[in-house]
């Protein structure tokens, strides 16, 4: 029996392509190759036989003296075209010139007429040379040229024929602009030339006239000399007439292209840059748009000369160069444009083409572009609420604000049992006084404020609270709930407008005294339930101070009372005037709060406690809803669920502290300015917009990172879930490189990388964690260094710390599958750019899921009136699980969803960030290599 191995002997293993013999005897030249790739050919080798390494632009001229000749290439230099025969190719591309228009003396006209011919565009190739070109033919004017015209062409030469045709419209458009620019400059130069010639002629006429008169006086009117002079004078007169006509023609050019709004051959800004020493004074007038204006009186300092009326055209005369034919300003503009064209179309077609497709697709998803895309795709803050259609609006679909996945409603008692009231002195940002001050129900020293004052770092820290080193003052969800019962109705009466839709409630501050000396505090006025919308962003997980392995039972300080269904929820509406009356406990000066609507407050807050969440009748306000619901289902799922009253870590995570830092930008900048100069500089890239190119370069560092650090998944999980990651190290280069590598994973990076602080050598503050999600910190042994480390230590439970020196990572654990696909140290991807593309794909997918989760109808709203919030929350979680996301992955989705929501609701005016600064307490671990 004959099997496959037997048959293999009959085949040429190494050259299966060439072994096929077509029996039909059809000559090869009439056939088609049976196999697409013979020998060493491959999809990338199609262009390999070209004699130039990369695309270039060639400008050629059909010289009336020497025929077609190459003039210059972009880029210039011999490297651009290699051994490619430019002379031959110039001959080839100029021989197809199509300029059939008549130039010169038309029949029946005694003087020359200029014809403004349209450019022609040709795509052609030389298959033998492997060169293909887009050729843009144009005609320039030269007073000394035959018929006043000089035919030129600009050719984009590539070895990829497909590229030329696929990019035809773009090439055509760009070259048309360059051509128009060149021709505009040429018309100006041509007009100048005629003017000079006219001056010469007029001067000559004057001289001749004088001489003629002299001849007449000396020799009589009919002497030979007098007649000769008279004839000469007549010729000059005629020539003047002709040149005046030419000048009129050239200056009355219809200029239709100039009327094209898209056409801009020059601009005043670039004028300064491009106008170099060679620029003649008239360029200024040109730049002012005076070109082609017949009324424009040019008065260059030109001394007229005596000339012959008819200049003999001879072939030994030097023709003007391209530069001389064109006004210098326009010439350099054209060259700049050509360089830009070369740059734009450089490289493989697949990159260019994919990029174009991407751009088109990204325009259709503006609401999510800010997350991971190049700023150029979303910087135009167009109406992101494009989804609104008629009376329907996506607001209806937005999830309720609280991003708590699920949870059993907690009783108010459960909060008060573990959280003490903390007196917090709030100071208004704007200095508005007494009425906005908060009356504290308890009086606990504001230790943080004292600390900060001691440090002298920032006056804005006044009012922050701390109980020594062990106290962090945060707004917590729990505390908010507790606050709900203590609304100060007096203050609520300060209503600026009857249309107030947002309620600000004055609440007491609760403090949680726990065994591990962690206080969980909330602000008073600084926090309003509306601000509790986002909790997962900026999630900060509490860690045990003792060691990496956290005692999860620390969560006991938050006893759960599943049986209680008191919910602290309310609907708040926007539109109030902002009154600043408090400073948050974290020292955030300048928190802006809005006065409550007493009516609404009374509706929502019976007995000072908001118990009922409005139902879908207020759907438009749903995004502003607060969801305090905690899911007991999660508790049950927890391994520790068996312990009574022992919340699981997940639950603790859900127990999110939140703080509204939406309006903290001013205070932050203030703090930044006051602490260190490097706080004020533009982060990450020194003021330059972050580009895909930079990210691609960072891809190499990223791939090195994921291979070197086995805990890369945890680090990147932190970034994607909104937990600030601090990269700590002594060597600036190492830290910066790590920060750069991690940047590619960071959502909402910002146009200038505002979310990244690549190198910080001064203490940071809690509010910075709202803005900076990736920080490189200088570890140094100095007073400054110790203060930096001090601040890091203070906030260490809220950040993840990657120690570049010790190769350790301190962060919460991660359990999920998402990071495995995104960060796989076994990946065989070789190049950083390719790895970046892979990451980009994965993040695109993640972004789409976040979009789906955010806007999925029926997901965030009760389907029927009987459904309570638990059901809705459970449904949301189930939905994410159904999408294939595990518990920790859900945090990522929640965080991204919150960002999308914020962007959708508020745009990117102040930078996209969650209005709420939230923390979640979760065990941290120390990972080592």
């Amino acid at each position: 029996m004959i099997g496959s191995p037997d048959l293999l002997a009959f085949t040429k293993e190494n050259d299966v392509v060439d072994s096929y013999v077509e029996p039909s005897q059809l000559p090869e030249e009439f056939s088609v190759p049976l196999f697409p790739y013979c020998g060493n050919a491959n999809p990338w080798s199609k262009t390999s036989y070209a004699k130039f390494a990369r695309d270039f632009i060639l400008i050629s001229e059909f010289s009336e003296q020497v025929g077609p000749q190459p003039l210059l290439t972009v880029p210039d230099g011999p490297k651009a075209c290699g051994t490619f025969d430019l002379n031959y190719f110039s001959l080839r591309i100029m021989s197809v010139d199509y300029q059939a228009s008549f130039v010169g003396h038309p029949p029946g006209c005694s003087y020359p007429k200029l014809n403004f011919v349209e450019d022609s565009k040709v795509v052609l190739g030389d298959s033998k040379e492997g060169a293909f070109a887009y050729v843009h033919h144009l005609t320039l004017y030269d007073l000394e040229a035959r018929g006043f015209v000089r035919p030129f062409c600009m050719a984009y030469v590539s070895a990829d024929e497909r590229k030329i045709m696929r990019q035809f419209l773009q090439l055509s458009s760009e070259f048309s602009k360059a051509s128009e620019c060149l021709k505009t400059g040429n018309r100006k130069a041509f007009a100048n030339e005629i003017e000079k010639k006219l001056k010469d002629l007029e001067y000559t006429r004057a001289v001749l006239h004088r001489e003629t008169e002299l001849q007449k006086l000396n020799n009589g009117c009919y002497s030979t000399q007098a007649i000769e002079k008279a004839n000469e004078l007549a010729n000059v007169e005629k020539s003047i007439y002709e040149h005046k006509d030419l000048l009129k023609q050239i200056t009355s050019y219809p200029n239709r292209k100039m009327k094209d709004p898209e056409f801009l051959p020059y601009d005043s800004d670039s004028l300064v840059e491009s106008a170099d020493l060679h620029r003649d004074p008239e360029s200024e007038s040109v730049a002012r748009g005076e070109l082609d204006d017949p009324t424009n009186q040019r008065r260059p300092s030109y001394t007229p000369q005596l000339i012959k009326a008819k200049s003999a055209k001879c072939f030994d005369k030097r023709l003007k160069t391209l530069e001389e034919l064109c006004d210098l300003y326009f010439f350099h503009q054209t060259m700049d444009q050509l360089k830009q064209i070369e740059k734009t179309f450089r490289g493989d077609l697949c990159n260019i083409y994919t990029n174009q497709i991407e751009q088109a697709l990204l325009k259709k998803q503006k609401v999510t572009n800010f997350l991971f895309e190049d700023f150029s795709t979303w910087e135009e803050d167009e109406n992101v609420k494009q989804f609104c259609s008629g009376n329907e609006c996506l607001l209806d679909n937005l999830p309720p604000p609280a991003s708590v996945p699920s949870g059993e409603p907690l009783s108010l008692d459960s909060y008060t049992s573990c959280v003490e009231t903390v007196p917090i002195k709030m100071e208004p940002e704007t200095g508005e006084g007494g009425p906005q001050e908060v009356e504290m129900t308890d009086s606990i020293p504001c230790e943080i404020a004292q600390d900060n004052l001691d440090e002298g770092t920032d006056a804005a820290m006044k009012g922050s609270l701390s109980s020594g080193e062990s106290i962090e003052v945060l707004g917590t969800e729990k505390s908010f709930k507790a606050q709900g019962s203590q609304v100060n109705s007096e203050n609520m009466a300060n209503v600026p407008s009857p249309q107030l839709l947002r309620v600000r409630r004055r609440t007491v501050t609760k403090r949680a005294n726990s065994e591990d000396s962690i206080e969980v505090l909330s602000t008073t006025d600084s926090i309003i339930p509306e601000d509790l919308r986002a909790s997962y962003p900026s999630a900060i997980h509490e860690e045990d101070s003792t060691d990496a392995v956290e005692d999860r039972t620390s969560g006991q300080m938050f006893p759960v009372n599943p049986g209680t269904d008191v919910q602290d929820e309310c609907v708040y509406k926007t539109g109030t005037s902002v009154q600043v009356d408090a400073t948050c406990c974290m020292g955030q000066e300048g928190l802006a709060y809005e006065e409550p609507s007493p009516e609404l407050a009374q509706e929502c807050c019976a007995n000072g406690v908001v118990k009922q969440e409005p139902r879908p009748c207020c759907q438009r306000d749903l995004p502003l809803q607060v969801d305090f619901v905690l899911d007991d289902a999660n508790i049950c799922e927890d391994p520790l669920a068996g312990l009574s009253h022992e919340p699981n870590p997940t639950y603790l995570l859900d127990e999110t502290s939140r703080m509204n830092l939406d309006d903290l930008s001013d205070s932050t900048s203030f703090m930044s300015a006051s602490t260190s100069s490097d706080r004020t500089c533009s982060p990450f890239l020194y003021g330059s917009p972050v580009t895909v190119k930079q990210k691609k370069k960072a891809g190499q560092s990223a791939i090195r990172f994921i291979r070197q650090y086995p805990f890369a998944q945890q680090a990147i999980f932190c970034l994607l879930s909104g937990r600030t990651l601090v990269v700590l190290g002594t060597d600036e280069g190492t830290v910066r490189k790590l920060v750069s590598a991690l940047t590619i994973y960071l959502p909402n990076l910002g146009k200038y990388g505002e979310s990244v602080k690549p190198w910080l050598s001064s203490p940071f503050h809690l509010s910075d964690l709202q803005n900076w999600k990736l920080i490189g910190i200088h570890k140094m042994a100095s007073p400054t260094g110790s203060s930096v480390l001090h601040s890091l230590k203070r906030y260490s439970r809220y950040v993840s710390i990657l120690d570049a020196d010790n190769k350790t990572l301190r962060c919460p654990p991660y359990k999920g599958t998402l990071m495995e696909r995104l960060v796989d140290h076994r990946t065989q991807i070789k190049r950083g750019a390719t790895y970046f593309l892979h990451v980009q794909s994965m993040l695109t997918q993640l972004c789409a899921k976040a979009f789906l989760f955010t806007f999925c109808h029926h997901l965030h709203l009760p389907i029927n009136g009987g459904e309570d919030d638990d059901v809705v929350a459970t449904r949301r979680m189930k939905f994410l699980h159904h999408l294939g996301y595990d518990q920790d992955d859900c945090h990522v989705l929640h965080f991204l969803s919150e960002l999308i929501k914020c962007y959708y609701l508020h745009g990117s005016g102040k930078g996209v960030r969650p209005p709420v600064f939230g923390f979640s307490y979760v065990t941290s671990f120390v990972y080592k290599i």
């Binding site: 697709l361 609104c388 991807i829």
Partner: protein, 463 residues
């Protein structure tokens, strides 16, 4: 346009008037050659009947046709090469696409040009269809060159493709898809998946459509149903590919046209549909066959197999033409039967073998979004962005692995793992998109094992 400034046309120029249904965007087609004594000469002109879109006299046509050969005296291409030139002549207001080739005329080897002239206003309309027209013209030129070699009249051969191309362009003027498709006209507007199209069928159709590089034919008896599916499939194409797709015509007069991405075709009154084997095979990409009457989806083999079969068929066709004893011996569409060495497998459409997860999850999810709010179109855009980015990533991965083709690709398993393409259907979809970015990728990656197996089969059959 005046022809006064043009050189007088040759009295010997033959002209064929082509009856085209509807408005024809084509001004004329010409066949010209370089006469070694007289220079460029026009041999034949094809013009559509009816009122021309642009007044173009015969003199102008001759002038333009001659112009296409300008500079070709310098041509140094290899024998058999067909070079493409493309002119946009604003002064004349025309666009000319010209295919330059060499051929024997009256015993001499001449440079020839087959050209199609359109008004410049049709530039945007024509560009997406350029590749289709060129590929089809190239093949007819291959046949024409054999005809010329034999001393027969090439015009009849050329006419056999010029007329269908005129018909194609004419049909595209009225029935091509727009760049932007309203989701409301597609299945994607259903309240829930399966409302107007069975869930599995829709999934299979879109999946296969993507696996065959976005090339599909939709057949059925109900034009509305067919066109809805056509529009749905076009959602997954790029804007220029959509403009290279065609809706079905209610009276069913359109025939299958090779090279279009998606085309709707109506069954006849008896409920049958004749599939032109040769045309389907000559499509640059494999095709998915979708019958909306019986909800079936069939697909052609992947690109490398399709390319191989296509080239074999072409070779067989050209061989048969080469062997033809006389001009009447071979009609262009029947020559395959004259070649006894190649028996094509007419069963080219197979069941969709590879299941995917990408399209499945997309369809499951997109219907969760509320229709009519642009949510779905946004989600679709995200999905397409994902596909394109994955395709580029895959391409770069292979580039890196093979040092741009210098080494064979041997790490498909790693690729699947690294790029999360473990499911065969997912890999097929992404590979198909990558194929459009880099033509020949399939042959490079999968070609060698396939060709080896084909050889084995051939050797086996020869025993």
């Amino acid at each position: 346009m005046s022809s006064s400034s043009c050189p007088p046309q040759s009295p010997a120029v033959a002209k064929t008037e082509v009856t085209v249904e509807g408005e024809s965007p084509v001004l004329a087609a010409t066949f010209a050659y370089w006469d070694n004594i007289l220079g460029p000469r026009v041999r034949h002109i094809w013009v559509p009947k009816g009122p021309p879109a642009l007044t173009l006299g015969d003199g102008d046509i001759t002038f333009l046709a001659n112009h296409t050969l300008n500079g070709e005296i310098l041509r140094s291409a290899e024998s058999g090469a067909v070079d493409v030139k493309f002119f946009v002549l604003a002064e004349k207001g025309v666009v000319i696409v010209s295919l330059i080739f060499d051929g024997d005329l009256k015993g001499d080897r001449n440079t020839c040009a087959l050209s199609i002239i359109l008004p410049q206003t049709e530039l945007d309309f024509y560009l997406p269809l350029h590749a289709v027209c060129v590929e089809r013209l190239k093949h007819i030129i291959r046949k024409g060159r054999i005809w010329m070699q034999k001393g027969y009249n090439i015009v009849s051969v050329l006419t056999s493709e010029i007329i269908p191309i005129m018909d194609l362009l004419s049909s595209m003027k009225t029935h091509s898809l727009p760049e932007d498709i309203d989701l409301k006209d597609t299945v994607m507007n259903d309240d829930d998946i399966g409302d107007s199209c069975h869930e599995d069928f829709l999934h299979k159709a879109i999946s296969s459509h993507l696996q065959t590089c976005g090339c599909s034919m939709v057949v059925g008896s109900n034009p509305d149903k067919v066109n809805k599916m056509v529009r749905t499939l076009c959602l997954f194409l790029t804007p220029s590919e959509r403009r290279c797709s065609r809706l079905c015509k209610a009276d069913g007069s359109f025939h299958y046209d090779a090279g279009l991405f998606v085309q709707g075709l109506l069954k006849d009154s008896t409920g049958s549909f004749v599939l032109p084997f040769r045309q389907v095979l000559y499509s640059p990409y494999p095709t998915t066959h979708i019958d909306v009457d019986v909800n079936t989806v069939k697909q052609m083999p992947p690109c490398h197999e399709h390319a191989y079969t296509q080239r074999r068929y072409m070779c067989a066709e050209l061989s048969a033409l080469w062997k033809a004893a006389s001009e009447e011996d071979v009609a262009p569409d029947t020559i395959i039967h004259a070649d006894e060495s190649f028996a094509p497998d007419l069963n080219i459409f197979q069941d969709v073998m590879h299941k995917d997860t990408i399209v499945k999850s997309f369809l499951d999810e997109v219907f969760l979004l509320k229709p009519g709010l642009m949510l779905r179109s946004t989600y679709l855009a995200q999905f397409l962005l994902l596909l394109h980015r994955k395709a580029l990533t895959l391409l770069k991965y292979i580039e890196d692995e093979t040092q741009k083709g210098k080494k064979p690709f041997r790490s498909l398993r790693n690729l699947k793992t690294d790029l999360d393409l473990m499911t065969e259907g997912d890999l097929s979809i992404i590979m198909a998109l990558a194929e459009k970015l880099k033509v020949g990728l399939h042959s490079f990656v999968f070609g060698k094992p396939f060709y080896t197996s084909v050889q084995e089969r051939d050797v086996l059959m020869s025993f």
